[in-house]
Symmetry: C2
Subunit: 356 residues, 2 copies
Amino acid sequence: MNYKIAVVPGDGIGPEVIDQALRVLDRIGEKYNHNFEYTKVLAGGAAIDATGGCLPQETIDICKASDAVLLGAVGGWKWDTLPGDERPERALLGLRKELGLFANLRPAILFDELSEACPLKPEITAGGLDIVVVRELTGGIYFGEKGFKDTDLGPAAYDVEQYAEEEVRRIAIVAFDMAMKRNKKVTSVDKANVLESSRLWRRVVAEVAKDYPEVELNNLYVDNTAMQMILNPKQFDVIVTSNIFGDILSDEASQITGSIGMLPSASLAQGNFGMYEPVHGSAPDIAGQNKANPMATILSAAMMLRYTFGLSNEADAIEAAVKKVLADGYRTPDLMANGGKEMGTKEAGDLILAAL
Amino acid sequence: MNYKIAVVPGDGIGPEVIDQALRVLDRIGEKYNHNFEYTKVLAGGAAIDATGGCLPQETIDICKASDAVLLGAVGGWKWDTLPGDERPERALLGLRKELGLFANLRPAILFDELSEACPLKPEITAGGLDIVVVRELTGGIYFGEKGFKDTDLGPAAYDVEQYAEEEVRRIAIVAFDMAMKRNKKVTSVDKANVLESSRLWRRVVAEVAKDYPEVELNNLYVDNTAMQMILNPKQFDVIVTSNIFGDILSDEASQITGSIGMLPSASLAQGNFGMYEPVHGSAPDIAGQNKANPMATILSAAMMLRYTFGLSNEADAIEAAVKKVLADGYRTPDLMANGGKEMGTKEAGDLILAAL
Ligand SMILES: CC(C)[C@H](C(=O)O)[C@@H](O)C(=O)O
Ligand SMILES: CC(C)[C@H](C(=O)O)[C@@H](O)C(=O)O
């Protein structure tokens, strides 16, 4: 089979971690007889430097003509003086909207081998953590109307948080489908005691839940969830929430694992199309120094194989190879706090290839 | 001096913890020759049961005619089947708006004596934590226009996040004034890479900062802040943020202390008027069993003495008495995870009175 992948190396450590992910994909291709065809495209700071804008039309077109997108990271100090709406990160918002990527899956997993890196006390996380935050990604306050107006209190700026029933329904379905393949527990997070859009959210999620009688549904307020994530994170299986609450909670969840350099993510459209990227950012401070941890990007490639291409065995093989390298005691610099055999970005790729 | 205090015992454990706080205030009154005059008023579930509405006009009037308000907690299962906008918690929103309580101060302190209760590993919190979240409390998406509309995607609900420059300015001034009395560091939290209201927020905070050249100002995105709170909470001194972000982050911050039963809060209006309440909720599961920890409410009374009445020595005395009881090894049930001499709600009051 031939699989067309649009590749966005992006900025900072993006190109380095992408290189290693492509090496891993190539090896999988050889071993399992698939052909992965890459088209590299520009987005973020790299696109600003080359074209003046962070998301060229050509990039959008090539992504749309591909089966999936693999992205490294975008952004960096260099572009920090640009006005907010011209920054490299805007490319992410543009890609999400243009490609219809409404469902963002962010697993927060505590790897056994890295449990020492967890900032929470061991009694809280004993037995491991395996949460997936399902974040709505193309609606809410991110894409609602925004602007300025005059008020009784003088000049003001505003942003509209808004959800249509349909938007809530489709993300809820993603969450419940996912729960059926996992521990059959969905926590829907909102602020229904204050927000009208949250009350609609809660009502539609309850409707969807009726089609999944085996799945346990809990509703939690966002403030309480931010607490429970620290107090008792093991209660969570699948968390489903709005764009802005998901932004905050998925970052909090990733942090309680202590290993953000290990965490992949998927942003899915209706159908099988998806964009895959590590949770971490572009880390300009260590760019070009062979210090970046490529494992989150390699695991993102594994998610791509699983979710977009339906290649579960191949995805399993990559995940097993990553775990083997960790179990053998190798660590990239970000994971060295508790010692280990240090490896660079490229060596991590070498070791994972060897383990495949 | 005569001080008029409107007292809202509220629901669940509210009345019990309030009782102990009033005993402590009475002792302070005797010792330092002040007269605290209490008027008990209804709000929350207790008001719903008695009057049908969660916030009677009489309550508002009496609060307005007082020098300060001391509140226990509102809410409980009993009223959970009511529609969202008739719930007991709505009384809090009503009081905040009616009384103009725009500045919510939520200290998150790791008490030396309770450091074992902290869910974070000791190396992260070594040396203690002392953060205060300054949350804007009468604006933003809590009080913006909300409703329903038809969209391209069908029926939708919306809520408007909105900030006027003036609203941002007055809360920023509270934060910078507070920082001047503390470690001279303000972290302003927003989502300026996405929200127009956040860009206005960031601009106005920068303007206010010019009047405080000694204070260091950092701007952080809300998602990053949710991470930094776990990764490196010691970097924070004063955090200033919007109503909804403050709701989430202050709860997260309270949780990293591990002792939410100890945390007071103040909600201040222009001038000296304020409402004081514990951060914890009404805990209906332990109501009426002499199990509740009254220390957060007692410390809220101390904040009232300090901020509204300007009685710092008296506030110091209460805080010292609470610490003494902890140092002597006494613990309410919520703090017993690491052992100690168990005390009930009333015994906690007795011991604090004795320590005064
Ligand atoms: C860069 C920013 C616009 C983005 C977001 O808020 O969605 C990022 O924080 C993320 O979570 O992917
Ligand atoms: C009860 C609720 C409306 C309230 C809020 O969101 O402000 C509470 O969570 C709080 O933080 O005081």
